[in-house]
């Protein structure tokens, strides 16, 4: 469904991505795994239209997303949950959710989607009038996910949803991700938390220094000795 082909993205002269190719299939959870500075976030920003790639292509069902800009990429059904759960801290939870639907014009359906979101995340309903900055880390992550869902994405890009959260909250967040996926939203996930990624992903890519160095299923990755040692501490 989402294909990234030979993507090169540079910050000035420094190439952060040196020809990344990957595919997120319809209905699957695809995970991009890699150490700090490997280019995971750059890949996500390039797909979401926040950064402009130097060369290569990004296509959604054959239609190119490259150079469309963030606003139109969201409109095509690709929503990003940025790293570090960037919510709008002074806006209320409810306004944050409305912000997620900025790219949409169908006001009536929006109300229905809000209701669905509140059913999925009851804690957000409880806190709907509260400034988002007063939520706990886990709640903010839920809000960031919920906000992205308000755009009615076909594919959700999630940048390190587990970062800085307690293990029990991480488990809860991944349970939610799996649930969203079961309801038909494809997911492209960036993680450093290899154990969680192996448990939930259908397909994995390993990125190192701006290049994909491995792709396969979690089983195949689990068998690779080098990866075992460097990522799973085994």
């Amino acid at each position: 469904m989402l294909r990234v082909e030979n993507l090169v993205t540079a910050y000035g002269k420094i190439k952060a991505l040196r020809g990344v190719t990957l595919e997120a299939r319809e209905g699957e959870v695809t995970c991009l795994l890699g150490p700090n500075g490997a280019g995971k976030t750059t890949t996500m920003f390039s797909i979401a239209g926040i950064l402009r790639p130097t060369s290569g292509d990004i296509t959604l069902d054959g239609e190119s997303l490259r150079g469309l800009g963030a606003a139109r990429v969201v409109g095509k059904g690709v929503a990003l949950v940025p790293e570090n759960r960037l919510v709008f801290p002074q806006m209320t939870v409810s306004d944050n959710l409305h912000a997620g639907a900025f790219s949409r014009r169908d006001d009536r359906k929006r109300q229905r989607d809000m209701e669905k979101i509140y059913q999925r995340f009851p804690v957000l309903r409880e806190r709907s009038r509260q400034p988002a900055g007063t939520l706990s880390g886990g709640e903010q992550q839920m809000l960031a996910i919920a906000r992205a869902l308000m755009a009615r994405p076909r594919i959700l890009l999630m940048d390190e949803p587990s970062i800085g959260l307690a293990p029990i909250i991480v488990a809860e967040i991944f349970r939610i991700i799996a649930e969203i996926n079961r309801e038909g939203v494809s997911i492209l996930l960036v993680e450093q938390n290899a154990r969680m990624a192996l448990k939930f992903a259908h397909r994995l890519y390993l990125i190192q220094q701006g290049e994909i160095t491995f792709s396969g299923t979690p089983d195949e990755l689990g068998q690779d000795e080098v990866i075992q040692r460097s990522y799973l501490g085994g």
């Binding site: 963030a70 919510v87 709008f88 790219s103 992205a148």
Partner: protein, 304 residues
């Protein structure tokens, strides 16, 4: 009475100036270019009514559009930088504008009198109101009509999607980007709107003062423009109104006896506000306290 009308006009014009910065500050940008847009509005409207004998209303609209056009044009390069660098860039712009008018000489003989901008001597003869027999109260009403219009437009758009978009950009650019907001478009739009508003303020200023020169539009004016929303807070346009009344009404006029000591007080108030009420005087707390006070009175009324 004349004095109070004059004061009301000054307050009204400064509210407009403050709101022009307010719009931009919602998107998280601090601009000192408002003095420049204000100057463009003042000179454009003055030139139109004096040299081309326009009526004040079309002159004001055109002046606003001219200032808006300049804001739009400098919006693209200026908004590539942010924070302190944006402040420096916008100061530079304001100074370029000021020095342009410092040098501008465009004299024409109108009804037997030579009139128009006269470089260092300033631009006198902007006498539309007096020449057309407007009474001070009419001029004051005219000014406040625009104050009300600008306040209403900002208040109204703040309740709609557009206000939320501005605030989203101001709160977190990356988050705004990821919900699909075109950051550049939003910032340039805010800059343009701010320029148009400042242009209206300048046009009104030129005609109430009847005289402008480049010294009116120094950095100090730009500082006032951003001081009002900082003092009043970004929660509501009424914060800016409150701040202007406080500074222009109470501090500048009310305490005139203190002479130049007032300037120190001005600085002290800004510092105290930033430390004690960082959200501005008219922040969420104040609004809640006011609401409570009103609710209390409503409840108390039937018994009394």
């Amino acid at each position: 009475m004349e004095f109070y009308f004059g004061l009301a006009q000054i307050i009204g014009i400064h509210v407009i100036l403050g709101l022009s910065a307010y719009v931009l500050m919602l998107t998280g940008q601090l601009s000192l270019a408002q003095a420049g847009f204000f100057a463009i509005g003042a000179y454009s409207a003055g030139i139109l009514t004096v040299l081309f004998q326009f009526h004040i209303v079309p002159a004001l609209i055109i002046a606003s559009l001219v200032a808006g056009l300049f804001a739009f044009l400098i919006g693209f390069p200026a908004l590539r930088v942010r924070g302190l660098m944006l402040v420096v860039a916008t100061i530079a712009f304001s100074e370029v504008v000021r020095l342009f008018f410092f040098n501008l000489s465009w004299r024409k003989t109108i009804d037997g009198i030579e009139a128009g901008p006269d470089s260092t001597n300033g631009f006198r003869e902007i006498r539309f109101f007096a020449a057309n027999g407007w009474e001070p109260y009419q001029v004051t009403l005219f000014v406040w009509l625009f104050v009300a219009l600008v306040m209403f437009l900002i208040w109204w758009s703040d309740r709609a999607r557009s206000g939320a978009v501005l605030r989203a950009v101001g709160e977190d650019e990356l988050a705004a980007h990821s919900v699909g907001i075109n950051i550049t478009a939003v910032k340039v739009a805010a800059m343009t709107a701010g320029g148009m508003i400042a242009g209206i303020g300048g046009a009104l200023y030129a005609h109430t003062a009847t005289y402008v020169d480049h010294l009116t539009f120094t950095i100090l004016l730009g500082t006032f423009a951003i001081a009002y929303p900082i003092l009043g807070g970004l929660r509501s346009v009424f914060g800016t109104l409150l701040a202007v009344v406080l500074i222009q009404g109470v501090l500048v006029e009310g305490l005139r006896a203190l002479g130049d000591w007032r300037n120190i007080l001005f600085g002290v108030i800004i510092i105290l506000t930033m430390n004690l009420k960082p959200g501005g005087l008219f922040d969420t707390q104040t609004v809640q306290a006011l609401r409570k006070g009103l609710a209390f009175r409503d409840k108390g009324a039937p018994n009394a």
